[in-house]
């Protein structure tokens, strides 16, 4: 089962992304097309451009949507932090991402306010473009983070090498998002062209041309970006659901592109509803595709934080200090039963139990023979010889003198 390793809360937060990304796309797409359309309108005095810009700005998602955008992003970052404690999401990151997003939304609205008050000066444009750029920059950061979720092995290294945050896969995911934005926006533009009971035919045709200019280059770039994303993801992230979702995205993008160009090729009015619906449907497929990759990678095999690039001294890994000179070892101050118990539980108990035979004989049958003769038991542990033909030879475990002393005393203490 693909999702068995993904916690339920993470799956629920995925559903939040389904709302979040199209909303963010509306802010970026509608804002950008409104600004560019108005700017061109000022240059060539084409009133349709002004009308489209006004309509887009009028219907731009409001402050409540902006708050929803911030809340859903904050919530999802919190869910990630909750489930993947090893994933470094410092307070500064939250502050930057949410702060820049909030100010981006505010700047776009300020620009809208200025345009609606007829302040069509460069300052209003500058504010609008900065707002859009800020929102886009936030999604660049967020989607680079999504790329990071496919390589948990880099998480512990981020503290020392913050540039590892950037990845080609993150760039690909950002590119894919930015290619989906114009598709949805083109759908909105087409719907605006049919607005009202008696829509203007010329304006409708203008929106059809505009939609092609906005969405076609992005749609043509989308399959390349999807394939680029697949190739920059680790092979571990590949799965049949991921590949099928990619194929479906390419097919749907081809369908939108074909429907989109029909009015320009004499194929009748644009099917605005269909284009807007597919433009919207591409987002959940794209989110599911991203989650499909993460579901395969973020497993206990890769995630156990204790396994992520911690340097383990050789002795600690082997549970021994056998490489150290014996003289130093023998300076152990006293009998250390706690240490002996640790060695017993971590090493000896693998093959021996007290009262039954496992791989080797039960302790109850062999340890009493060494009662009062700890040195003999230590000699055997140090250099095990095959004694009983019914059992395989005990391997030399390479324990340190201190461990041998501790475990021998511990075993005899249990017999006493």
């Amino acid at each position: 089962m693909l999702l068995e390793n993904i916690p339920l809360l993470h799956i629920l937060s995925t559903l939040v992304w389904l709302l979040h990304f199209p909303l963010a796309a509306l802010f970026i797409g509608m804002g950008l097309v409104a600004l560019i359309s108005r700017l061109y309108g000022q240059l060539d005095r084409e009133h349709h451009r002004f009308r489209l810009s006004d309509l887009l700005l009028e219907r731009l998602p409001g402050f409540k949507s902006g708050l929803l955008l911030l809340a859903t992003l904050g919530l999802n970052l919190w869910v990630l932090r909750l489930h993947y404690p090893a994933l470094p999401i410092p307070f500064l990151y939250w502050l930057v991402v949410l702060g820049v997003l909030a100010s981006g939304v505010w700047l776009i609205h300020l620009s809208r306010y200025l345009f609606q008050r007829q302040f069509n000066d460069p300052f209003s444009y500058l504010i609008g473009f900065i707002g859009v750029a800020q929102i886009a920059a936030v999604y660049f950061l967020i989607l680079c983070g999504a790329g990071l979720l496919l390589s948990p092995e880099t998480w512990p290294l981020l503290g020392q090498q913050p540039l590892l945050y950037l990845s080609w896969n993150g760039v690909a995911q950002f590119g894919q998002f930015m290619a989906l934005v114009p598709t949805l926006t083109a759908g909105i533009v087409l719907l605006l062209g049919r607005l009202g009971d008696n829509p203007c035919e010329n304006f409708r045709r203008f929106t059809e041309r505009c939609a092609v200019v906005v969405a076609l280059p992005a749609l043509l770039a989308l399959p390349a970006l999807l394939v680029f994303g697949l190739n920059t993801a680790p092979t571990l992230a590949w799965s049949w659901p991921l590949i099928l979702l990619l194929a479906l995205l390419i097919v749907l993008a081809a369908l939108v592109a074909l429907v989109l160009v029909q009015p320009l090729l004499g194929g009748g009015p644009a099917r605005s509803g269909l284009i807007a619906s597919i433009g919207l449907a591409l987002f959940p497929l794209w989110v599911f595709k991203t989650i499909a990759g993460q579901a395969v990678v973020l497993t206990p095999y890769t995630l156990d934080t204790s396994l992520l690039y911690q340097k383990v001294p050789l002795e600690a890994r082997l549970g021994t200090a056998s490489k150290k000179p014996v003289e130093k070892e023998e300076k152990a101050p006293k009998i250390d039963l706690a240490r002996g118990e640790r060695v017993f539980k971590s090493i000896c108990a693998t093959c021996h139990a007290w009262d039954k035979k496992v791989v080797g004989p039960s302790y109850a049958s062999v340890v009493p023979k060494y009662k009062g003769n700890v040195d003999s038991l230590k000699d055997f542990i140090r250099n095990p010889a095959k004694i009983n033909p019914d059992y395989p030879a005990m391997p030399n475990l390479g324990l340190s003198e201190r461990d041998i002393d501790a475990v021998a005393h511990y075993l005899l203490s249990q017999v006493n």
Binding site: S151, L157, V227, L236, L265, Y301, T302, K311
Partner: protein
Amino acid sequence: MRLKELNWTRLIITGIILGLFGLFLGILAAQTGWWQLYAQTPEQPIDFPHTKHAGQLGLACTYCHIHVEKSREAGAPPLSICMGCHQKIATDKPEIQKLTRYYNEKKPVEWGRIHNLPSFIYFSHKRHLKGGVDCSNCHGAVKQMAEVKQVRPLKMGWCVSCHRTYDAPLECSTCHK
């Protein structure tokens, strides 16, 4: 329909769009084929449970992979190590009987290799273990894997990130002898 009545512009543009998207679908299909043929975990001749040995029993990796601290290759354990315990243990299980047949017939078990480095890479297990790298850093939580698979990219950028973090050598000749 006569040839003259065909809308050639429409046909050509539709063809270009379909061709472009078809091309990328073809690339996707080809890559899926490569993934299926070459990037899958190989089937093993014996169903060896790391979950039992490294997981439940807690055997150290070095208990079976005896060469890992002494040589470049970790290597598969000699069958005599397996038979040390399995002359007595779980001898009724079909996989152990298979193992015993290999041992008695003195045939090597042809394990499928999971972690492959290109032939032009010099990599030494011995050096990495001495440097304090834990097996799981590169192999993941093998003791939890019912079927062992590669969970790290084993790509140059991945190696270099770790070398840089721990001040390991970064000269080209370290890995490209």
